[in-house]
């Protein structure tokens, strides 16, 4: 079953009256942790609700774990855990009862549900707190309880809608580490929706980037973000060495590199391989006897992807 794509869509379109929430989205999501990113209203929650079989798409097809959510919703939902964006829970219910109840509803036999609820709560770090009513727990603890209920019935896939919403930086780090752990240690695939690009970059293997319902980018994170072949060189122009930047540029061109752009003493240098470029840049600076403020390899971030789309 690991061979089947976690989520696969083809021309997936969702229209709400005049508003197009998803616009012909075609994507194959491999195993691991996948970040579903985009601004509020980008279509993330709509995609999740279609994936759960809670609403039929206007057009296109979707399969989740090889199942059609429209035709096999019941079977699919026994294998998918879900964490809602909303931070409301039954206030006076102990965490253990809450998780046990939802494990039962998701198909865990009654005699297993109690033990699995306890195990899931220990895993998320709430073993000692499991008998506390949910209303007495902090936001971070409640988010952990929501994660525990999603994994208690042993899903193959967990859909997390903004799981770090409302968490402080420490709680957010802990939650992200937990999400990574359930994927790595238990081979549970995760699709995580978030509008915080930085946290998606930190833990996801793959991304689906949506903007106003359109697919902006998708694929393995390492293919989309990371170091580029562009190296930025910032030189210091000093009085006793006028024209040092010009000299460096000439040396670089002679070495077969391309100066992509230049802003006074700041040069962006392109080449086939950043390592080779760095060697040539070092040699050019030495030959021109120039002084350097900084040399850095340019890095593409998810934010750059979105900025590129919007510009």
């Amino acid at each position: 079953m690991r061979g089947v794509a976690v989520l696969s869509t083809s021309g997936l379109t969702m229209q709400f009256g005049p508003h197009r929430a998803l616009d012909a989205v075609s994507v194959d999501v491999p195993h691991g942790v996948t970040g579903l990113v985009g601004a509020n209203g980008a279509g993330k929650t709509t995609l999740m609700s279609i994936a759960l079989g809670l609403r039929p798409p206007t057009a296109g097809t979707v399969t989740v774990l090889g199942l059609d959510p429209g035709q096999q919703a019941r079977e699919l939902r026994t294998r998918v855990g879900y964490v809602s964006e909303r931070n409301v829970l039954p206030e006076d219910m102990p965490a253990s009862d809450f998780v046990k109840h939802l494990a039962e509803v998701r198909g865990m036999p009654r005699h297993e549900a109690k033990g699995r609820a306890s195990d899931a709560l220990w895993l998320v770090g709430l073993g000692e707190e499991r008998f506390r009513p949910l209303g007495t727990m902090s936001t971070g603890q409640r988010q952990r309880v929501k994660l525990a209920q999603a994994i208690a019935a042993d899903p193959s896939l967990v859909l997390l809608d903004e799981p770090t919403d409302g968490l402080d930086p420490v709680q957010r780090d802990e939650m992200l580490a937990l999400i990574r752990q359930i994927s790595e240690d238990f081979s549970i695939d995760v699709v995580l929706s978030s509008h915080l690009l930085e946290e998606v970059e930190r833990i996801c293997d793959n991304i689906i980037a949506l903007d106003a319902g359109r697919l902006v980018a998708h694929g393995r994170l390492e293919d989309l973000v990371g170091d580029t072949a562009i190296v930025t060189v910032e030189l210091v122009e000093v009085d006793d060495r006028p024209g040092a930047a010009d000299a460096v540029e000439q040396h670089l061109l002679r070495a077969g590199l391309e100066v992509v752009s230049r802003d006074m003493t700041r040069l962006r240098v392109g080449g086939a391989d950043p390592r080779t470029s760095l060697d040539a840049i070092r040699d050019a600076i030495a030959s021109a006897d120039a002084r350097v403020r900084r040399i850095s390899t340019d890095r593409t971030t998810l934010e750059d992807l979105f900025t590129g789309v919007s510009s």
Partner: protein, 293 residues
């Protein structure tokens, strides 16, 4: 002999065993709802209404029974009204239940996010509503049938019950049937009216309006304006007892029509069925429109 020890904290692991179906999911939701509306496992304040309802439901029956035991059959029929009349008291109780307790079954799930979570499981809106309906009718059946059955059993022990086992079974079956039709009618009305809001207090007012308000309007129409007496079959407070009376082969107060023929039995049940259908329709229509995620 002590129960065998169980270790629950074995560490999270994958599960390879069988999974239960939607039936278990519905039972779990129904049981969870019964616990919730009765205040089991919740703070003391959540137990107040259910406790009042239980007290009001069973206390009169226990008092009747105690009097019968203490003074025997000296007061005769005065202490032993027809069985259908015994539903008069549970009707008061079930109105209290429908107004104060039953709305909790639906409203709470929408308020605390459980409804959305349930729909991410194998449950669907119809199976969820069936589970909720089953839970509410189960608790209502206890408060409607319980006191009357208690009296039947008490009278039987005092040798004041029906003559012969066949007659006893007939009375017991009529009590149960009466309870079922009353409970289905009241549960549909209570859940239908409370499906329209996410606030329990407003739901309670809505249910009260659907019961007492409509009853008052029908009373005015019949008694003051002179609309035909048959309109009383739509009186949500009078119809339940009238149905019980008809099941016992008698005529209740809502069916009496001085100087004219009594309201036919089929019309009584058509009236109650109409209300049940309307409120179930409201419930289904409302939930069909509710967004799942």
């Amino acid at each position: 002999m002590t129960a065998p020890a169980e270790i629950f904290d074995r560490g999270y692991r994958r599960y390879e065993g069988e999974r239960a179906g939607v039936g278990q999911a519905m039972r779990s939701v129904a049981w969870h709802t019964i616990r919730s509306v009765l205040g089991i496992g919740r703070k003391g304040r959540h137990k107040v209404f259910p406790a009042i309802v239980a007290l009001v439901a069973f206390l009169p029956s226990i008092a009747f029974l105690a009097l019968t035991i203490l003074i025997g059959d000296m007061l005769g029929e005065a202490l032993r009204p027809p069985y259908w009349e015994l539903f008069g008291l549970p009707i008061v109780v079930v109105v209290l239940f429908a107004t104060l307790v039953a709305p909790e079954a639906l409203v709470r799930d929408r308020r605390d996010g459980m409804f959305r979570l349930y729909l991410s499981t194998p449950l669907t809106k119809p199976t969820y509503l069936i589970a909720k309906f089953a839970a509410v009718t189960a608790v209502m059946t206890i408060v409607v049938a319980g006191p009357v059955l208690l009296l039947l059993i008490g009278y039987t022990i005092q040798s004041l019950g029906p003559d012969g086992f066949g007659a006893w079974l007939g009375v017991a079956a009529r009590i149960l049937l009466s309870s079922v039709v009353i409970v289905v009618f009241m549960a549909a009305l209570s859940l239908g009216a409370s499906s329209l809001t996410d606030r329990r207090a407003i739901a309670s007012v809505g249910v009260l309006g659907a019961l007492v308000g409509v009853s008052i309007v029908i009373g005015i129409c019949v008694d003051a304006i002179g609309v035909r007496h048959e309109l009383r079959v739509l009186d949500p407070l009078g119809a339940p007892v009238e149905m019980a009376a008809r099941i016992f082969g008698e005529i209740g107060p809502a069916g009496e029509n001085p100087g004219r023929p009594t309201t036919p039995t089929w019309l009584v049940f058509v009236g109650a069925s109409a209300w049940t259908t309307v409120w179930l329709g409201v419930l289904v229509a409302r939930y069909r429109r509710l967004a799942a995620v």
